[in-house]
Assembly symmetry: C2
Homo-oligomer: 198 residues x 2
Amino acid sequence: MSKLLEDAVGELSKLPGIGRRTAMRLALHLLRQEVADVEVMTGTLSRFRNRIKYCHICNNLSDDDICPICADSSRDRGTVCVVEQVSDVISIENTRQYKGLYHVLGGVISPMQGIGPSDLKIDMLLDNVARYGIKEVILAVGTTVEGETTQFYISRRLAEASGVRVSTIARGIGFGDEIEYADELTIAHAIHNRTPLK
Amino acid sequence: MSKLLEDAVGELSKLPGIGRRTAMRLALHLLRQEVADVEVMTGTLSRFRNRIKYCHICNNLSDDDICPICADSSRDRGTVCVVEQVSDVISIENTRQYKGLYHVLGGVISPMQGIGPSDLKIDMLLDNVARYGIKEVILAVGTTVEGETTQFYISRRLAEASGVRVSTIARGIGFGDEIEYADELTIAHAIHNRTPLK
């Protein structure tokens, strides 16, 4: 087999969820594209990795030192939504419902993977809360054991900060989800925390 | 959203089978890799697209003008296996059972997609058969309507070449396949072309 092809397949199959078969299909796809288009792709990915920054305030991905959300004066600067990762910011932004700021932790506390509080941007969050006079912190981390641990740890740290409300996003049965397929913990929580209609 | 991230996701989601969600996951994966490793990846893909050649004899992908298989004097130079695409060569090579040469057509005849015989390397195959004294041509194209059409067309063209045997790979129930799940055409063919055991 061609060394050039072998190398291309090798690199593509390092990507998560892409096995050798798919990598081969992708490599052959690249051959059917114009050389200039493949140059644009590789150049874009290289530039992305080389030039991307993390916002100095919220740790979100950014082209500049301060991300567009933190720089946007029309947003509610008293509310911070704490998320695990960049993709969560995008998911929440896509709803167009939230007008506050974000804080990207960069992961969750996971003793199994050797990730402690100091590996996450938690001190940065506490500094921001004090410095920018944040009024409410919304914790929007996952419902895994690690997520719950992280949430508990942050809410404990924030307990010392006076005048700051701390909330967590609502848990329950998702819209369009069947109760039949929801797990017991979610159903139990959804019933216990039922919303009064009248 | 960061323009750099937006562009990276845009490029990745152009790849076949990769939607925006997966593209986002891949982009964030790249961020967790070392800058140098991402440079190696983008450089490898760029070099692959820029430098890859097609073997002047068999049209297989090659780093040089002649591919390693055509250049290998230990292979059976009287037999040519005709396949649609490069990945078919790799699949057959992986079996380590076939010792002849290959010929990569680069597709199949498909009037629907505007692909006629002249868009494929069929004349190149016929030239090779005459020039290199090929004794047997094994047609290993797919069993789609287009594949059958291509096979019929090539076997007709080869009918004029004297002293050349033409065969097609065996069709039937694959090893490990359940008869229950095989299509009717395959089952009918498998019964009609049954192999005597005694």
